[in-house]
């Protein structure tokens, strides 16, 4: 257990609060640039078809219309697009901002109208007529791989977007051959989506004289946005400035610019005028990127005491037509993380990702989370087959402190995880044994109560391009501190947490720090927020830069005070001789000397009070947690009520417990939404049916349970001891809830393996 510092470990109130509370946040739709035009997209209403022609004449004739651009006008001169994280040669859908010879999903952008006002832009878009000759849609992932299937991307020659072949081993075969029990089940997860309250959007401005592009964007990664603009337009990156202001949530959707954003940037360059595009909600639900929709078949071999001896996994992912990034498959990450919190001696993980004529998949909080969704449901199912309580089965297989360091069957090395402790803490907090007694008594009275657990290991992903981040810490002439970082917040409170880290290690007051983020003209390169990496990589950079600046300030003070640096202490934005408060030199005094009074300084005293550091993280840092939920199912209406929800979390040394709990709550609610309410539905012809909030149901205040938190604090090996945790809430809540629902339904002999577990689905299962 680590002792909390003055700032790190405290639930410091957020620095960004007053601005956001008074209506003075600056989100992309709040940006106005003189002479700005407004863009609207004409989209396909057909899931699949040949684009015979696009009649833009009437739209062009409308007063105020500056341009109507189709692929023929927009695409010439554009260069290939690829995402840094995936690399240039990664398998991916063909790149085209606008539909070319054919349309490949309902919502496929066909033309871009650029107009003086958004109202007229909508009118103009309605006047564009696309002549589409329908082709058979590609909807079912299994059928899509058949010989006679119509092709989503004919140029690729197959609907197979990606494949991870099974890698068996003699050990695995032996485990299955000698198993006391083999259980196999297929779990289905439906399509749901990020749905940030702020949709996607940007304002792009091309300065033809200076050959400079400026983009204000709702993004999670301004540098990646810049890189992609540079690649597609063939511009040097320093000529592009991407500015991210306040961002109204992203959850993965805003990691990478997608086709529409790229089209708008290309249009602004072509037209030489600033263009704004703000996605409307219908577009966001129709074409802003979807997630999940996959199935996973898990076979577990176990001995007669319930110990897992081997697992075989097969995954089938529906990645839609134009997934972002790459081919949209999450199988690589899933295969690495699948063993999770358990001792699984042998594993094989095979996967196929399939293109369909639906909206492309995008990243969503824990994109690879099917591994936990399926694994945790499988544990409960196996427990039922063994006649054992699921808690007991987990206890028999969970990795304990004595097992560490532990290398999983997929090669991940755990050194500082605590799944057994979080399992016990969650069980205790929810009163597991007492609930079992209550459940038995209530069953007698006909009430269907259930309890569900889900354990998982969450990777902070800092491999490859995600592995470093930069921070500049500068003591300004007035003694205040500028913290300039490559990472930027879209709701995770980084303005607060990063400042806490710097205040702690620099020795300044928190209120002295101003956080500068999200503008590629000023901030060091950053890979963006995603992969639960900020607490690890960005905080590492902030800490490293703060410590380096502290050393310089101490050296300067030592020269001025004629004292040994080791005799000095730094606190509350001042440096003095330890035990002699009267000697303390405020930062403002030292800064004044360095910037203006340097002539009087002794030889060698440092005057550069600005430090930029890059922190390089190990590829993975693991946090872990256990979720426990109790529910009641109404057998008549199929309604699920969540009675209690407990999360025991170990994310190492917490920078700010309040922020950690806020992240958990947000993720859990997204998982609850996924299991019970949210469903992106396509009909049998490939038409999306849920493109408003009347049809796509987000959880509201009325559905949000109070979460009870437990914290286990196992420091990671990183300086600072932190671990990332931003995604876990959304990873473990679906299986915890599914397990609780199935536990409630157990007396009826029902076990659901498909989400969503909506009232309709439950009633259907209950109806013989």
């Amino acid at each position: 257990m680590t002792v909390a510092g003055r700032y790190v470990g405290q639930s410091v109130r957020r620095q960004e609060d007053p601005r956001l509370l008074t209506g003075h946040g600056r989100y992309v739709d709040d940006i106005v640039v003189p002479g700005m035009l407004h863009a609207a997209f004409v989209r396909s209403s057909v899931p699949h078809g040949l684009l015979r022609g696009v009649d833009t004449e009437a739209a062009r004739a409308l007063p105020g219309v500056a341009a109507v651009l189709t692929a023929a006008e927009l695409h010439p001169g554009l260069h290939p697009m690829w995402q840094t994280m995936m690399g240039q040669d990664a398998p991916a859908a063909p790149f085209r901002p606008l539909a070319d010879a054919d349309v490949r999903y309902v919502g496929d952008p066909i033309a871009l109208v650029v107009v003086e006002s958004r109202y007229i832009a909508e009118d103009a878009a309605e006047l564009v007529v696309a002549d589409i000759e329908p082709l058979p849609p590609v909807l079912d992932t299994s059928a899509a791989l058949g010989d006679t299937a119509s092709l989503v991307h004919p140029e690729l020659g197959s609907n197979l977007a990606g494949e991870l072949p099974a890698a068996g081993s003699p050990e695995l075969d032996a485990a299955f051959a000698s198993a006391a029990l083999v259980a196999t089940e297929t779990f289905h997860q439906h399509r749901y989506a990020c749905v940030p309250m702020e949709t996607r959007g940007l304002v792009a401005q091309w300065d033809p004289a200076g050959e400079q592009l400026t983009v204000w964007a709702a993004t999670q990664g301004p540098h990646e946005f810049r890189a992609i603009c540079g690649r597609v337009l063939g511009l040097p990156e320093p000529r592009i400035r991407v500015i991210m202001g306040d961002v109204g949530g992203g959850f993965g959707q805003k990691m990478f610019p997608m086709r529409e954003e790229i089209a708008v940037v290309a249009a602004t360059r072509q037209l030489g005028r600033p263009v704004k595009w703000i996605e409307d909600r219908n577009e966001n639900l129709l074409g802003g990127g979807h997630a999940r929709e996959e199935q996973m078949t898990v076979s577990v071999a176990a001995d007669d005491a319930g110990h897992f001896t081997g697992v075989r996994v097969e995954q089938l992912e529906n990645v839609g037509a134009y997934p972002f990034p790459g081919n949209g498959s999450t199988a690589m990450a899933g295969s690495m993380i699948f063993p999770g919190p358990y001792r699984i001696p042998a594993l094989s993980y095979a996967a196929r990702a399939v293109y369909t004529t639906t909206c492309g998949r995008c990243a969503y909080r824990g994109p690879w989370m099917m591994e936990t969704v399926a694994r945790e449901q499988m544990v409960d199912l196996l427990a039922r087959r063994l006649g054992m309580d699921p808690l007991e089965l987990r206890r028999r297989n969970v990795i304990t402190a004595e097992d560490l360091p532990f290398t999983t069957a997929s090669g991940m090395v755990y050194e500082t995880v605590s799944p057994a402790q979080t399992l016990e803490q969650a069980a205790e907090l929810i009163g597991y044994d007492a609930f079992r007694r209550e459940q038995a008594a209530e069953r007698e009275r006909g009430r269907l109560l259930g309890i569900g657990l889900a354990l998982y290991i969450e990777p902070s992903q800092s491999f490859g391009p995600l592995g470093t981040d930069g921070a500049t810490v500068r003591l300004e002439p007035d003694g205040r501190v500028a913290l300039v970082m490559g990472t930027a917040s879209h709701g995770q409170s980084l303005e607060t947490t990063m400042a806490q880290v710097v205040a702690e290690h620099l020795g300044c007051d928190l209120g002295d720090i101003t956080f500068v983020q999200g503008d590629t003209a000023y901030v060091p390169y950053g890979a963006g927020t995603g992969g639960s990496r900020s607490a690890v990589v960005a905080a590492g950079a902030a800490r490293q830069a703060a410590l380096a600046l502290r050393e310089r300030i101490v050296t300067l003070a030592a020269a001025v005070l004629e004292a040994a640096p080791s005799d000095l202490e730094v606190a509350s934005s001042a440096v003095g001789v330890r035990g002699d408060p009267a000697s303390a030199l405020p930062f403002a005094k030292l800064a004044g000397l360095a910037y203006f009074g340097h002539a009087a300084l002794p030889e060698g005293a440092p005057v550069a009070l600005e430090v930029t550091e890059r922190f390089k993280a190990p590829p993975f840092t693991f946090s872990n947690a256990c979720h426990a939920a109790t529910v009641e199912v109404d057998a008549t209406t199929g309604q699920v009520s969540i009675l209690r929800y407990v999360v025991s979390e170990d994310c190492g040394v917490m920078i700010n417990p309040m922020v950690v709990e806020g992240q958990i709550a947000g993720g859990v609610l997204q998982g609850i939404g996924g299991v019970l309410y949210e469903h992106m539905v396509y009909d049998g012809d490939g038409n999306p049916l849920t493109t408003t909030f009347l049809d796509y149901l987000l959880p509201t205040a009325a559905e949000a349970p109070a979460i009870e938190y437990g914290h286990v604090e196992t420091a990671s090996r990183l300086p600072g001891g932190a671990k990332g945790m931003g995604e876990g809430g959304a990873i473990a809540s679906p299986p915890a809830l599914a397990n609780a629902i199935n536990d409630a339904l157990a007396p009826l002999g029902i076990h659901l393996t498909r989400q969503p577990m909506s009232p309709a689905a439950i009633v259907a299962a209950l109806t013989p």
Binding site: G25, S493, L669, P699, A702, P705
Partner: protein, 179 residues
Amino acid sequence: MTAPEAGDQVHTATVTLTVNGESRALEVDTRTSLLDLLREHLGLTGSKKGCDHGQCGACTVLIGGRRANACLALAVAHDGAEVTTVEGLADGDALHPLQDAFIRYDAFQCGYCTPGQLCSAAGMLTEGGPSAVTADLTGDPALTPGEIRERMSGNLCRCGAYVNIVRAVTAVSTAGTEP
């Protein structure tokens, strides 16, 4: 709906409103929503657009003290109205009690839904009357957390700050600090 043809007339009208205590008169396209009038014509960008269909609450403002979805309100239909937006909640530098409670209870993350949550809560606290979860339909029900959850359920928050929003609103409601 038929799309307009080239040459169609855009109809405009003059609208006079009192916004956050200031009288404003302006000429707008008659199709202009109150939300677009506030954001685009008056530069009051605090009210947010989350759906433009009356389904998310991000655009909630107070019209004559009652909460309303500004995206669904046609500006011309509210000629003469008194409108309060999130920018008008604080009294100078003194935050509105709800704003203060939102800080104390960590009632938001990205802040996009927050202006609507605040205006909605401010209106809700003075509304009275029964809601869908009120058991006794006679008289004014107490604003229990359950009532507040129901009454705030028109304001979506994808960051999932609901529990803390309800705590913040409950604190203000029970402190009796609301006018």
